[in-house]
């Protein structure tokens, strides 16, 4: 078969195309199936050969072939290099094309054009790819930033909301107070702090699931109320909720809200087929706000809530600053007590007890004192109650008893040394270790038990139970004197009085005074009657609160054995009492 110049046979063409395709496939970086690459390359080869003999000749066909090579995935540098070599070395011979100047010229023009088209396509492709990957990076970046913002928003939400009810928490509530302040710098706000009464019982008896569902139901009711009244609602802890009211004009505003809230919560809840009657207590505060007042306001509402709860269930209380200040001071004092005990800030002052007949010193009453570093000397009425409330009473009592016994033992070396009278706080009578403590303290100090007197307040002892009587008997058994303090201020169970192992009655100070609106004779007769009651019981009788000589005489005349009061001496440190002991008289 003799081919026309410029046009090889189909077989010759496909041989060339197969070789070209194989070369390209091996030079290509992106893999391609053999059959597919042969199909593509055969088509390109046909167009190349057609272009060679086309009239008029147009070299731009080569450009398009170069472009299509790249578009079909033959884009590696080697693809171009090998293509050029293959065309130059094999095309004319394989297709038996004339080796004349015209053909050679056309061929080199086509190859030049093919290389240009290839390079241009590769360049475009790279630019497109660079754009694509940049867009992808920007997209990814934007997505990461969005995710970060969402995360921050979610963290912010978690940090400011209660997970169970979705209500704002304490943090957001305080922020809302600040926001209210920013909106109206001179405005007033009110808080109603609500707490479900006996919620813990629901959790323990019905389970936390029921408890949680109740809290959700409560949250929903309060949310409804808040929406209706234009309030904000938050959940603090467990079963504590807060309603925030801005732009109030007075306490009545929050009281109305508290009433409505307590009413709403008092309607029974139906949880899991159970009807749960619930009551709540509320603490209220309403005042002008200043910057940073949020936490303070909340504390005020919670304080008022505690006052309300102290009154029972279903109550509300409005916060009062004076009461709170007193509360805080009392709390600070009680918190300082353990340290004060360690530092030895608790001591005793001694007040003379004097025989009314010969005015000799018969005893001293030991009175507790706290040498407070800030508040100076505090008397027992300021701290004994706190000690009882904080569980420190036993420790404090033992400490003071030891001081009293040691001091009493020091005075014992003088003849007719006074007995030391120590106040015993009522709860200590129920302390099973009391008798042992006292016996040990007496033993260690060396004080003669007959020189120790324990003063017990009238209403603490009279008509008491069998254990108390046994304790008193055991104490009397040690040889210790027992006195009834403040006699006549309680309503004594006289029937019991005679059964107790007592030594002395201390008449309350009010007997020393002459009531101005009553005839003197009647008062004196009454006084004599009381004193003779003491005598009948075989007790000595001491009169407290003697401020004048006239009172001293009057009480002596009424039959009192001894007396105590400013007239005979103020409570004083032990070193001031010692000279009196030495002299035997104040």
């Amino acid at each position: 078969v003799t081919g026309q110049p410029g046009s090889g046979t189909a077989d010759q063409l496909s041989d060339f195309a197969r070789t070209w395709a194989g070369t390209l496939r091996r030079a290509s970086l992106a893999p391609m199936r053999a059959a597919r690459s042969e199909r593509t390359v055969t088509y390109l080869a046909q167009r190349l050969v057609a272009a060679l003999s086309a009239e008029p000749f147009d070299a731009s066909a080569g450009y398009r072939i170069g472009t299509e090579l790249v578009d079909n995935g033959f884009a590696s540098p080697e693809s171009l290099g090998r293509t050029i070599t293959l065309i130059n070395s094999r095309l004319t011979t394989d297709l038996r094309l004339p080796a004349d100047g015209e053909t050679t010229g056309r061929l080199s023009a086509l190859v030049e054009s093919l290389a240009e088209g290839f390079a241009a396509a590769v360049h475009d492709r790279s630019l497109d790819a660079q754009d694509e990957v940049r867009v992808a990076a920007l997209t990814a970046q934007a997505r990461a930033e969005r995710d970060l913002r969402e995360t921050q928003a979610r963290l912010q939400y978690l940090a400011t909301h209660d997970p169970l009810t979705g209500l704002p928490n304490r943090v957001l509530l305080i922020e809302q107070v600040s926001a209210a302040l920013r909106a109206a710098p001179a405005g007033r706000v009110g808080l109603v702090c609500l707490d479900l009464d006996r919620f813990a019982t629901i959790n323990t008896s019905l389970g936390h699931r029921v408890g949680d569902r109740l809290l959700l139901a409560v949250a929903n009711r309060l949310r409804g109320l808040a929406t209706a009244c234009g309030l904000q609602v938050a959940r603090l802890d467990r079963d504590e909720f807060v309603l925030l009211m801005t732009g109030t004009s007075g306490a009545e505003d929050v009281i109305k809200v508290a009433d409505r809230a307590l009413c709403r919560l008092a309607e029974p809840f139906h949880i899991d087929g159970l009807e749960l009657p619930v009551t709540a207590s509320a603490g209220l505060v309403e005042q002008p706000v200043a910057a940073g007042d949020g936490p303070e306001l909340l504390r005020a509402a919670l304080t008022a809530l505690h006052w309300a709860q102290a009154r029972g269930t279903g109550h509300w209380r409005l916060f009062e600053r004076e009461r709170s200040t007193a509360d805080i001071q009392r709390y600070r004092l009680s918190a300082a007590m353990p340290g004060a005990l360690r530092r030895g800030e608790f001591t005793l002052a001694y007040q003379p007890l004097v025989d009314l007949a010969d005015r000799r010193l018969v005893g001293v009453e030991a009175l507790a004192r706290w040498h407070h570093p800030e508040h100076g000397m505090l008397t027992a009425d300021r701290f004994i109650g706190l000690a009882a409330a904080t569980g420190l009473l036993g420790t404090l009592d033992r400490h003071l008893l030891r001081l009293a016994c040691e001091q009493g033992a020091r005075w014992q070396r003088w003849p007719d040394a006074p007995y030391v009278s120590v106040n015993l706080a009522a709860p200590r009578l129920h302390d099973p270790g009391l008798v042992g403590d006292i016996a040990q303290t007496l033993d260690q100090s060396g004080l003669d038990p007959r020189r120790l007197q324990l003063e017990i307040t009238e209403h603490d002892t009279i008509g008491t139970d069998r254990d108390t009587v046994a304790t008193l008997e055991a104490l009397a058994g040690l040889g210790v004197r027992i006195a009834i303090d403040d006699f006549g201020t309680g309503y004594a169970n006289l029937a019991c009085l005679h059964a107790l192992p007592l030594h002395e009655l201390k008449l309350a100070a009010s007997f020393a005074q002459h009531p101005p609106d009553r005839p003197a004779a009647a008062t004196d007769a009454f006084l004599a009657g009381v004193v003779s009651l003491g005598h009948t019981l075989g007790l000595t009788v001491l009169a407290e609160g003697i401020e004048t000589e006239a009172q001293a005489r009057r009480l002596h005349a009424a039959g009192c054995h001894s007396g105590q009061g400013w007239h005979f001496g103020l409570p004083a440190p032990a070193e001031d009492i010692t000279p009196l002991v030495r002299a035997g008289t104040p």
Partner: protein, 268 residues
């Protein structure tokens, strides 16, 4: 403080990505200067790394063709990386327009890029997930929407398991993935090794530490472990050009220089 699991990762464009370096080795331009710098360092050490990348890519294609020939019409390609010419969905959908592909990658840029390419293709999708979370991949809503897990699936783990250190139990991860597949499913694996060219490979491994996915080379025995519990398709675990070549010429004289072990397993 430990970052919560749902907090997003940032995009770090200062560290090279092996996926984008791989694109560069394959002649692609979907990469950044930092990637090319890393890729060129590897080329300096191993000038034929481009051929290795190509041979690995060619194995992926042959494995997909093989699976298509075995009736597989849905593919899960984990560690799909930067999409280059001849992606799995292109091959699959050329054979059968109904073929479905889910691409999975850990790199947010690769994922965003894949999304661009897949716009308008409702039978292929991409999810951003980590091979370390097989259940999250299989349970992802887009995976479930596209793949019928009750039918055999072609699982592609091509050039990805070496990004999982032993401490993350890669064998266990493959086992968990395969456990979810129906009998008749296939798993294709390719993995970098230092069995040949140990010096260069360990140097390359060192270099990979600066990338976002440092590599671990594994021996032939270790690669075979990934197929435990599966039937290994002939010719087993071999050098990448040796796995069912289209023509004997494609294998070349030194297939071991291609640095990848490859294999396909079938779930019985």
């Amino acid at each position: 403080v430990q970052r919560p699991e749902w907090a997003p990762e940032g995009i770090d464009l200062t560290r090279p990505s092996v996926a984008r370096a791989y694109d560069y080795w394959l002649g692609g331009s979907h990469n950044f200067a930092v990637d090319r710098e890393f890729a060129r360092k590897i080329i300096e050490m191993m000038p034929d790394v481009r051929l290795m990348a190509r041979a690995n890519r060619a194995f992926l294609h042959r494995a997909v063709w093989f699976m298509l020939g075995s009736g597989i019409r849905q593919f899960l390609d984990i560690g799909s990386g930067i999409p280059t010419v001849g992606n799995v969905h292109e091959i699959g959908q050329e054979a059968d327009p109904e073929a479905r592909v889910v691409y999975v990658d850990i790199d947010p840029i690769a994922v965003a890029h894949s999304e661009q390419i897949l716009v308008g293709n409702d039978r292929a999708t991409v999810i951003e997930e980590d091979l370390r979370h097989p259940e999250a991949i299989l349970g992802h809503p887009r995976t479930r929407a596209l793949l019928d897990i009750q039918q055999p699936i072609g699982l592609l783990l091509v050039s990805v398991l070496h990004a999982i250190p032993d401490s993350d139990d890669p064998v266990g991860l493959v086992r968990r993935l395969c456990a979810a597949l129906q009998p008749g499913s296939y798993v294709a694996i390719s993995h970098v090794t230092a069995d040949s060219r140990p010096a260069e490979m360990s140097q390359a491994q060192q270099l990979s530490r600066q990338t976002t996915t440092p590599g671990t080379v594994r021996s032939k025995g270790q690669v075979e472990q990934f197929f435990s519990g599966l039937e290994l398709v002939e010719p087993g675990v071999v050098w990448s050009p040796q796995w069912r070549p289209e023509s004997p010429d494609d294998v070349g004289e030194h297939p071991e220089r291609m640095g990848f072990y490859v294999g396909v397993g079938r779930k019985a």
